[in-house]
Symmetry: C2
Subunit: 515 residues, 2 copies
């Protein structure tokens, strides 16, 4: 490509550097910073945010994109580009233009009002939550909804308000698709939940734990078997596990030990490592797409599908328990066979809290939030009515009612920061993971012997084969394909809830069949 | 103060934010970053360095300083300022003008040549050191010397080359003062060294160690007794211990465990905590001097005096051993009384390596470096002759000869990054610490009962009284006074090597008197 393209690339490169400095500050904040450092950290982050915003909406940047577009069209007309270049460069430009248009179409007063409303909202939400008093949070949430509605108006895309706000997380998502994908779950998940009720009577062993040291060692063993490279990975503790990428060869993840929950750290490690593997596989390392859209994750649901694959499809599988139960038994877990570990890893007990939910009830938590945020943004649901609506739906779908708003509609941080349209990605991640896994399994069966099913590979500690498949089929595309396009390409089917339901039904059946 | 002053303050505030982001990246690099993250970290740091340099030499900044100066003079003439304001604001302006003039007087070609030469120098020094082959490093060191000589020419201050380059570390230092201060040491330290030779025959117990966990616990106990506040302090591990300040309420330090050296981590913690206490006591927290020169450390020697006070004068004192020996014995140190701990904490054995040197021979390592860097910069010493000159002086002053250049003139990183004029600060720190301690002791004796000598307070775990004294007499001045002015003000005497020599002689005498 020509000189305009290179100039644009240089600009993006520098934006990427600034963004990664921001991520480093977040990492430090969550892993090392003493708590009274928070207010100065806020100053640092706000300076970087201003710098980044001004870079991403500057006239200079707009001109760079325009010049690169002109150069691209010119070269294309002259036939100087091979088809792959046309496709990739064209996609990069399209995404840059889209992001730039969005940055530019918001007036600066709204941007600054939103920033204040978010920080105000977060702070009032914390107070409201502490006192379990929703009324404290009401005015802030009203303000946030109103400002984000205004944002959608200013963006003026051919989409509804909720759809517009969901785009940054889930490009091209529509209300119609959400309905199509989620409605079967709305019907089937509560049925499955009542089927497993009997399982909950023979509750798994409780009241035991593993030492910090043993948990740490098991996590290390897991990461070593799952392809960790020391030179590019670093691990720390934080109050909430997360993973982040700080540079092309700098991947971080955090875990935490939860007292009385001996699998919490292990499964969180599997989950966060799944996120990290996706980022490690994106087409950005030592590659010309670093800093460009194509080098980035395509959507939150695809990201989540990767973490869920490793957490649920691999670590919570019976095959994994076969391979690992002795290691857990050796450090004092009260189990005598693989089935016992498997059952402990898969408690299917509905509760009030999303982040503690199992695979079966998780989706119901998301359905409720999705319905409610669409109602708040588009259907005139009054903020004051949120607690009662919330509780009603919990009763209806999960069969339990929160005792107060802290364990009810005040449990999640998202809305307090004005994040609408984010929740569905969590559930879409389950759907995508299941559908990808189905195809993966089929690929292995078609092309090799029987022991090369997903479960066969897990049982033999050959997870690297699973990873290779994901790298070649999923990770490598970056933002070239959106989530649905990716699923279509890989599985040759449209995304649906069927594989996920099949997977759950199968798991329930096998759990019920245990002695 | 008026609006120009406020505008300048706002500018300095933002510069401070950027600088603290840079420090956060260094902290992360040394404590968390996986090693292959280094090259991207370099990109981040270099972007920030460019931003900082451009802020600190911009026309806008120059105008802000000029306006603030005009406003200050105007207000002073009108009699609107109280004397303390005249003094403090005047000093702030003087220092800002000085720093700005320095930034502006270098031409940009030199700045960029120096940056390359430093990174080239560092990399060749690493190679040379690995192979213990000085010749690999020769051209890079020649280049660095030549460029820094050019820098001194461009700065064109009424000072010699070496003096000019030493200013950022030790403001107002001169060759004449260095000579005055160091010459008595050149004579007396080798004599003391030969006096203790006999001690080295009855060598302290060797071949034992403390567990990581016990070392960690002892360090924690130490910090708790020495005034650590959890909310503003955070501790991590790094290959080389250091301390850094990342925000007005965010102080970090690192330690390391060295196998076979059971006091290494403990004494390094004491040392780094001393640095941190100085920074914590500077007049910047929740105070209008944050971001201004007066809120910063006045010189490297004063900084070092604070770390050495806590490491040597406190932790290595007999009084401290009285209070602590049982705690060390309880975790398995082979000692039966305070004298045994004290002797173990004070091995006076000359070696080849500066960073492992004891209080007695440390100064000799510095004398050699100081002589040699002055000779290289000002007296035409050829770079090729450095190894032989180095070895000659080690033989002469310390009585031992390096077996190779790796343990000789390639041991320190400083010159490889073009740092000249830095080494003397380490030794000046010993001198300042001793002279301040003498005054502190006198103050306590004058104003209270006998148990309130420094040693009395240490023995009773009342180190907070020592800290209060340092805060009120030393830390609070920031850059209002340079190192010599500070010592003069606090001790009412000119800085000299006498208190330090007296302190050493006393320690040697007491060690020799042990059974």
């Amino acid at each position: 490509m020509g000189s305009s393209w290179k100039r644009l690339g240089k600009y993006l490169w520098e934006t990427q550097i600034l963004g990664s400095v921001q991520s480093t500050l977040y990492w430090d904040q969550n892993t090392s910073m003493p708590f009274r450092g928070a207010s100065w950290r806020g100053e640092q982050l706000s300076l970087l945010a201003r710098q980044l915003h001004s870079r991403q909406s500057s006239i200079e940047y707009g001109n760079l994109i325009e010049d690169a577009r002109a150069e691209f069209e010119n070269q294309r007309q002259k036939g100087n580009l091979v088809p792959a270049q046309v496709e990739e460069h064209g996609r990069n430009l399209y995404l840059l233009e889209q992001d730039f248009r969005r940055q530019k179409s918001l007036d600066s007063e709204l941007v600054s009002d939103l920033a204040s409303a978010k920080s105000e909202g977060y702070s009032l939400w914390q107070q409201a939550r502490k006192k379990s008093d929703f009324s404290i949070f009401v005015p802030a949430l009203q303000k946030l909804i109103q400002l984000r509605q205004e944002e959608a108006r200013q963006l003026s895309e051919p989409r509804s308000c909720w759809e517009t706000l969901a785009q940054p997380f889930e490009p091209d998502i529509t209300l119609v698709r959400i309905k199509e994908l989620f409605n079967p779950l709305r019907k089937r998940l509560p049925e499955l939940l009542s089927e497993v009720r009997e399982l909950n009577e023979r509750r798994p062993l409780n009241g035991w734990d593993l030492s910090e040291n043993d948990q740490q060692n098991l996590c290390n063993e897991l990461l070593n078997e799952w392809g960790r490279e020391d030179g590019i990975t670093s691990i720390a503790r934080s109050p909430h596990p997360f993973s982040t990428t700080l540079g092309p060869c700098d991947f971080r993840l955090t875990t935490r030990i939860v007292k009385g929950q001996p699998f919490s750290c292990f499964l969180a490690t599997a989950h966060e490592w799944g996120h990290s593997l996706y980022e490690q596989g994106l087409p950005c390392q030592s590659h010309h797409w670093f800093g460009w859209p194509l080098g980035k994750a395509t959507s939150m649901s695809v990201h989540e599908s990767q973490s869920l694959f490793w957490e649920n499809r691999v670590a919570r599988s019976m095959a994994f328990s076969e391979r690992w139960w002795k290691r857990f038994a050796n450090v004092g877990a009260p189990i005598n066979c693989s089935e016992e570990l498997w059952r402990l890893m898969n408690p299917l007990i509905p509760g009030l809290t999303r982040v503690e939910a199992d695979e079966l009830s998780y989706g119901l938590h998301i359905l409720i939030r999705t319905d409610l945020e669409i109602a708040l943004l588009e259907q005139g649901l009054e903020v004051e009515a949120l607690p009662s609506e919330w509780n009603l739906r919990y009763k209806e779908l999960i069969g339990i009612t929160p005792g107060n708003d802290k364990e009810g509609c005040l449990q999640d941080v998202h809305w307090s920061e004005g994040l609408f349209g984010y929740f569905p990605s969590y559930l879409l991640g389950h759907l995508i993971s299941a559908q990808l896994a189905e195809s993966m399994n089929k690929d292995f069966e078609d092309h090799s012997n029987a022991s090369s099913t997903i479960d066969g590979l897990i049982e033999n500690g050959k997870e690297s084969t699973l990873l290779d498949w994901l790298r070649n089929n999923v990770h490598c595309h970056g933002r070239q394909l959106n989530a649905e396009q990716l699923v279509q390409k890989v599985t040759e089917k449209r995304l649906s809830s069927e594989p996920f339901l099949k997977y759950l039904e199968n798991k329930v059946k096998n759990l019920m069949a245990l002695p």
